[in-house]
Amino acid sequence: MNNIITEIKSFSKAINIMEVCGTHTMAIASSGIKALLPQNINMLSGPGCPVCVTPTGILDAAIELAKTGCIITTFGDMMRVPGSKSALEKEKSTGCDIRIVYSCTDAIQIALLNPKKEIVFIGVGFETTSPTIAAIVKTAENQNIKNFSIISAFKLIPPAIAAILEQNVSRIDGFILPGHVSTIIGSKPYRFIAEKFRIPAVITGFEPSDILEGIMLIANQIKRAKPEIEIQYQRCVKEQGNLYAVKLLYSVFESSDSQWRGIGLIKNSGLKFRKKYQRFDTFKKFGLKVRNTKEPAGCLCGKILTGIAKPNQCGYFGKKCTPSNPIGPCMISSEGTCAAYYKYGN
């Protein structure tokens, strides 16, 4: 690892590298990588925190259903995320049946144990999470489970990167791409980064040594002036990805335009149920609509998620906005950029 750090330090050009994924953001902060990097290498956080980018309307819809007596099941991260008026954690304390699950399979079990109740699973996450959910939908279909549905708020990473690059305001010189997403989709969907935008990108693992090597590989690509999509995380990622998982994912879902909290609408960046599986779509089942809501005035999360601003440039950061009283999405999730800065003192 010392050799990698020495090589990174020998690179003198000032560059901005965006780590797209929230898990990378937390790993960089918690392992103290920033303290090891030379000042000319500036790390920016991207939009790859699934909790951060889930719109308030999704939470509002889940809360509305919880109040009607549905059992809401969710991954733990979502509990404190504020909707426009409340949060799941707050509603749970008023008596709504809201349960943390560790897998969507648990939600199915709850459905089987509570046949007279409607069970709703809040489906958030990226390509890493959604194939598993697709498999569970198929299981539910095969078992003819009728009291179970999913709020599909899944998102896709490549369209979000394309949207950031098309905005052309972040001045990104390289990308650290999420290794687990590429375990599913491989490296091909990222080719546009190097080919169209001429920016280096490295698909990277989550150990500190992986991340440092990813940074080194980006610096070397910049030196060679030959941008490409490299795979640092070779122990898990193949160029073509996991074809079975991708096929499974798109047999249940299809891409759709999607709202990203703090960013706005991104074309083809979400997943909606295919017609065959629409009975598992909570919105269709209950005739719900996701209402658009505005982010709080003065909150810089939109800029932070696209690499334009850093948390400490926001007037709320660490004052009105803390992990126990989050105002914007980046402070809400344990994998959010502001939460990382707050917790680890960047």
């Binding site: 303290a35 733990g76 707050k90 440092l212 126990s324």
Partner: protein, 341 residues
Amino acid sequence: METKKISLADGSGGKLTHRLIKNIFLQNLGNPILNRLDDSAICNLQSAIYNLVFTTDSYVIKPIFFPGGDIGKLSICGTINDLSMLGARPLYISLSFILEDGLQVDKLEQIVVSIAETAKKSGVKIVCGDTKVVEKGACDEIFINTSGIGIADKKIDISGHNAKLNDIVILSGTIGDHGIAVLNARQKLGLRCGRCELKSDIAPLNNLVEKMIKVCGSGIHAMRDPTRGGLATALNEIAEQSNVGIEIEESTIPLKKPVESACALLGLDPLYIANEGKLVAIVSKKDAEQILSVMKKHPLGKHAKIIGKVVPYPKGVFLKTKIGGTRILQMLESDQLPRIC
């Protein structure tokens, strides 16, 4: 304006719990003994030799039986450990049971047998108690409240307020075992490491502490059993009480591989996971090796390690990471939640 309500996060043992304690309890009940916020209270007796040390705690845990222990053993160990962290010899414990209508009597008996065994092994006596039965749904099977009394030598002065510059931080063993074992059992996660089951570290620490005091009582300045909020929160409490900085080295912190893997999988930081049979001691530099050596000879301290030191500045707790970086180790903000990906 919305009326503020208690939430589960207020009981996490982290920043929110401390805020609640300071703003509600200390504000209304504060006095010089309570204000010290140590694990137990030192009450001055009319004795030239001993102080009376007094503590109370309530135990609520799901499931009530977990790998390595149960709520009964937990209640006795927890009370013994709170007394021990002030250097006291635990003597007497009271028990108050709140039982839910419908609790199976054989479960209760199993818990009481466990209490009896733990008390006997630790040399403490259960001397009084109370029982209430509440309606179904009013409690979660069984809640236990305890109070404990011990005595501490007046020459010993162990308190969260006493950490001093250049003191050494010693941890008695691996962290996170209890929290991960309970989580694994509660959520039926089925996490295993080969044939080895994730098991709670729950244990009474009075005998270990007794040995440490015997070899060098004056060298022990502060102690905490890192329960809710884990090691990071316990060190933050000491740093705040003593107004010092504490720097610890990540590479020296003992951590079992299955616990490390479970934390990585669930997105939890082992430094914030609860322990029930571990202690962290802040000891004088000159006595550190001797105290460490005694700890290592004890079954509950055989994996003890020096993990850091007390520094003058900056205040708070800092972690030197395995790759040589440094980061702040804050008090737990509120309960850790498992992540999505």
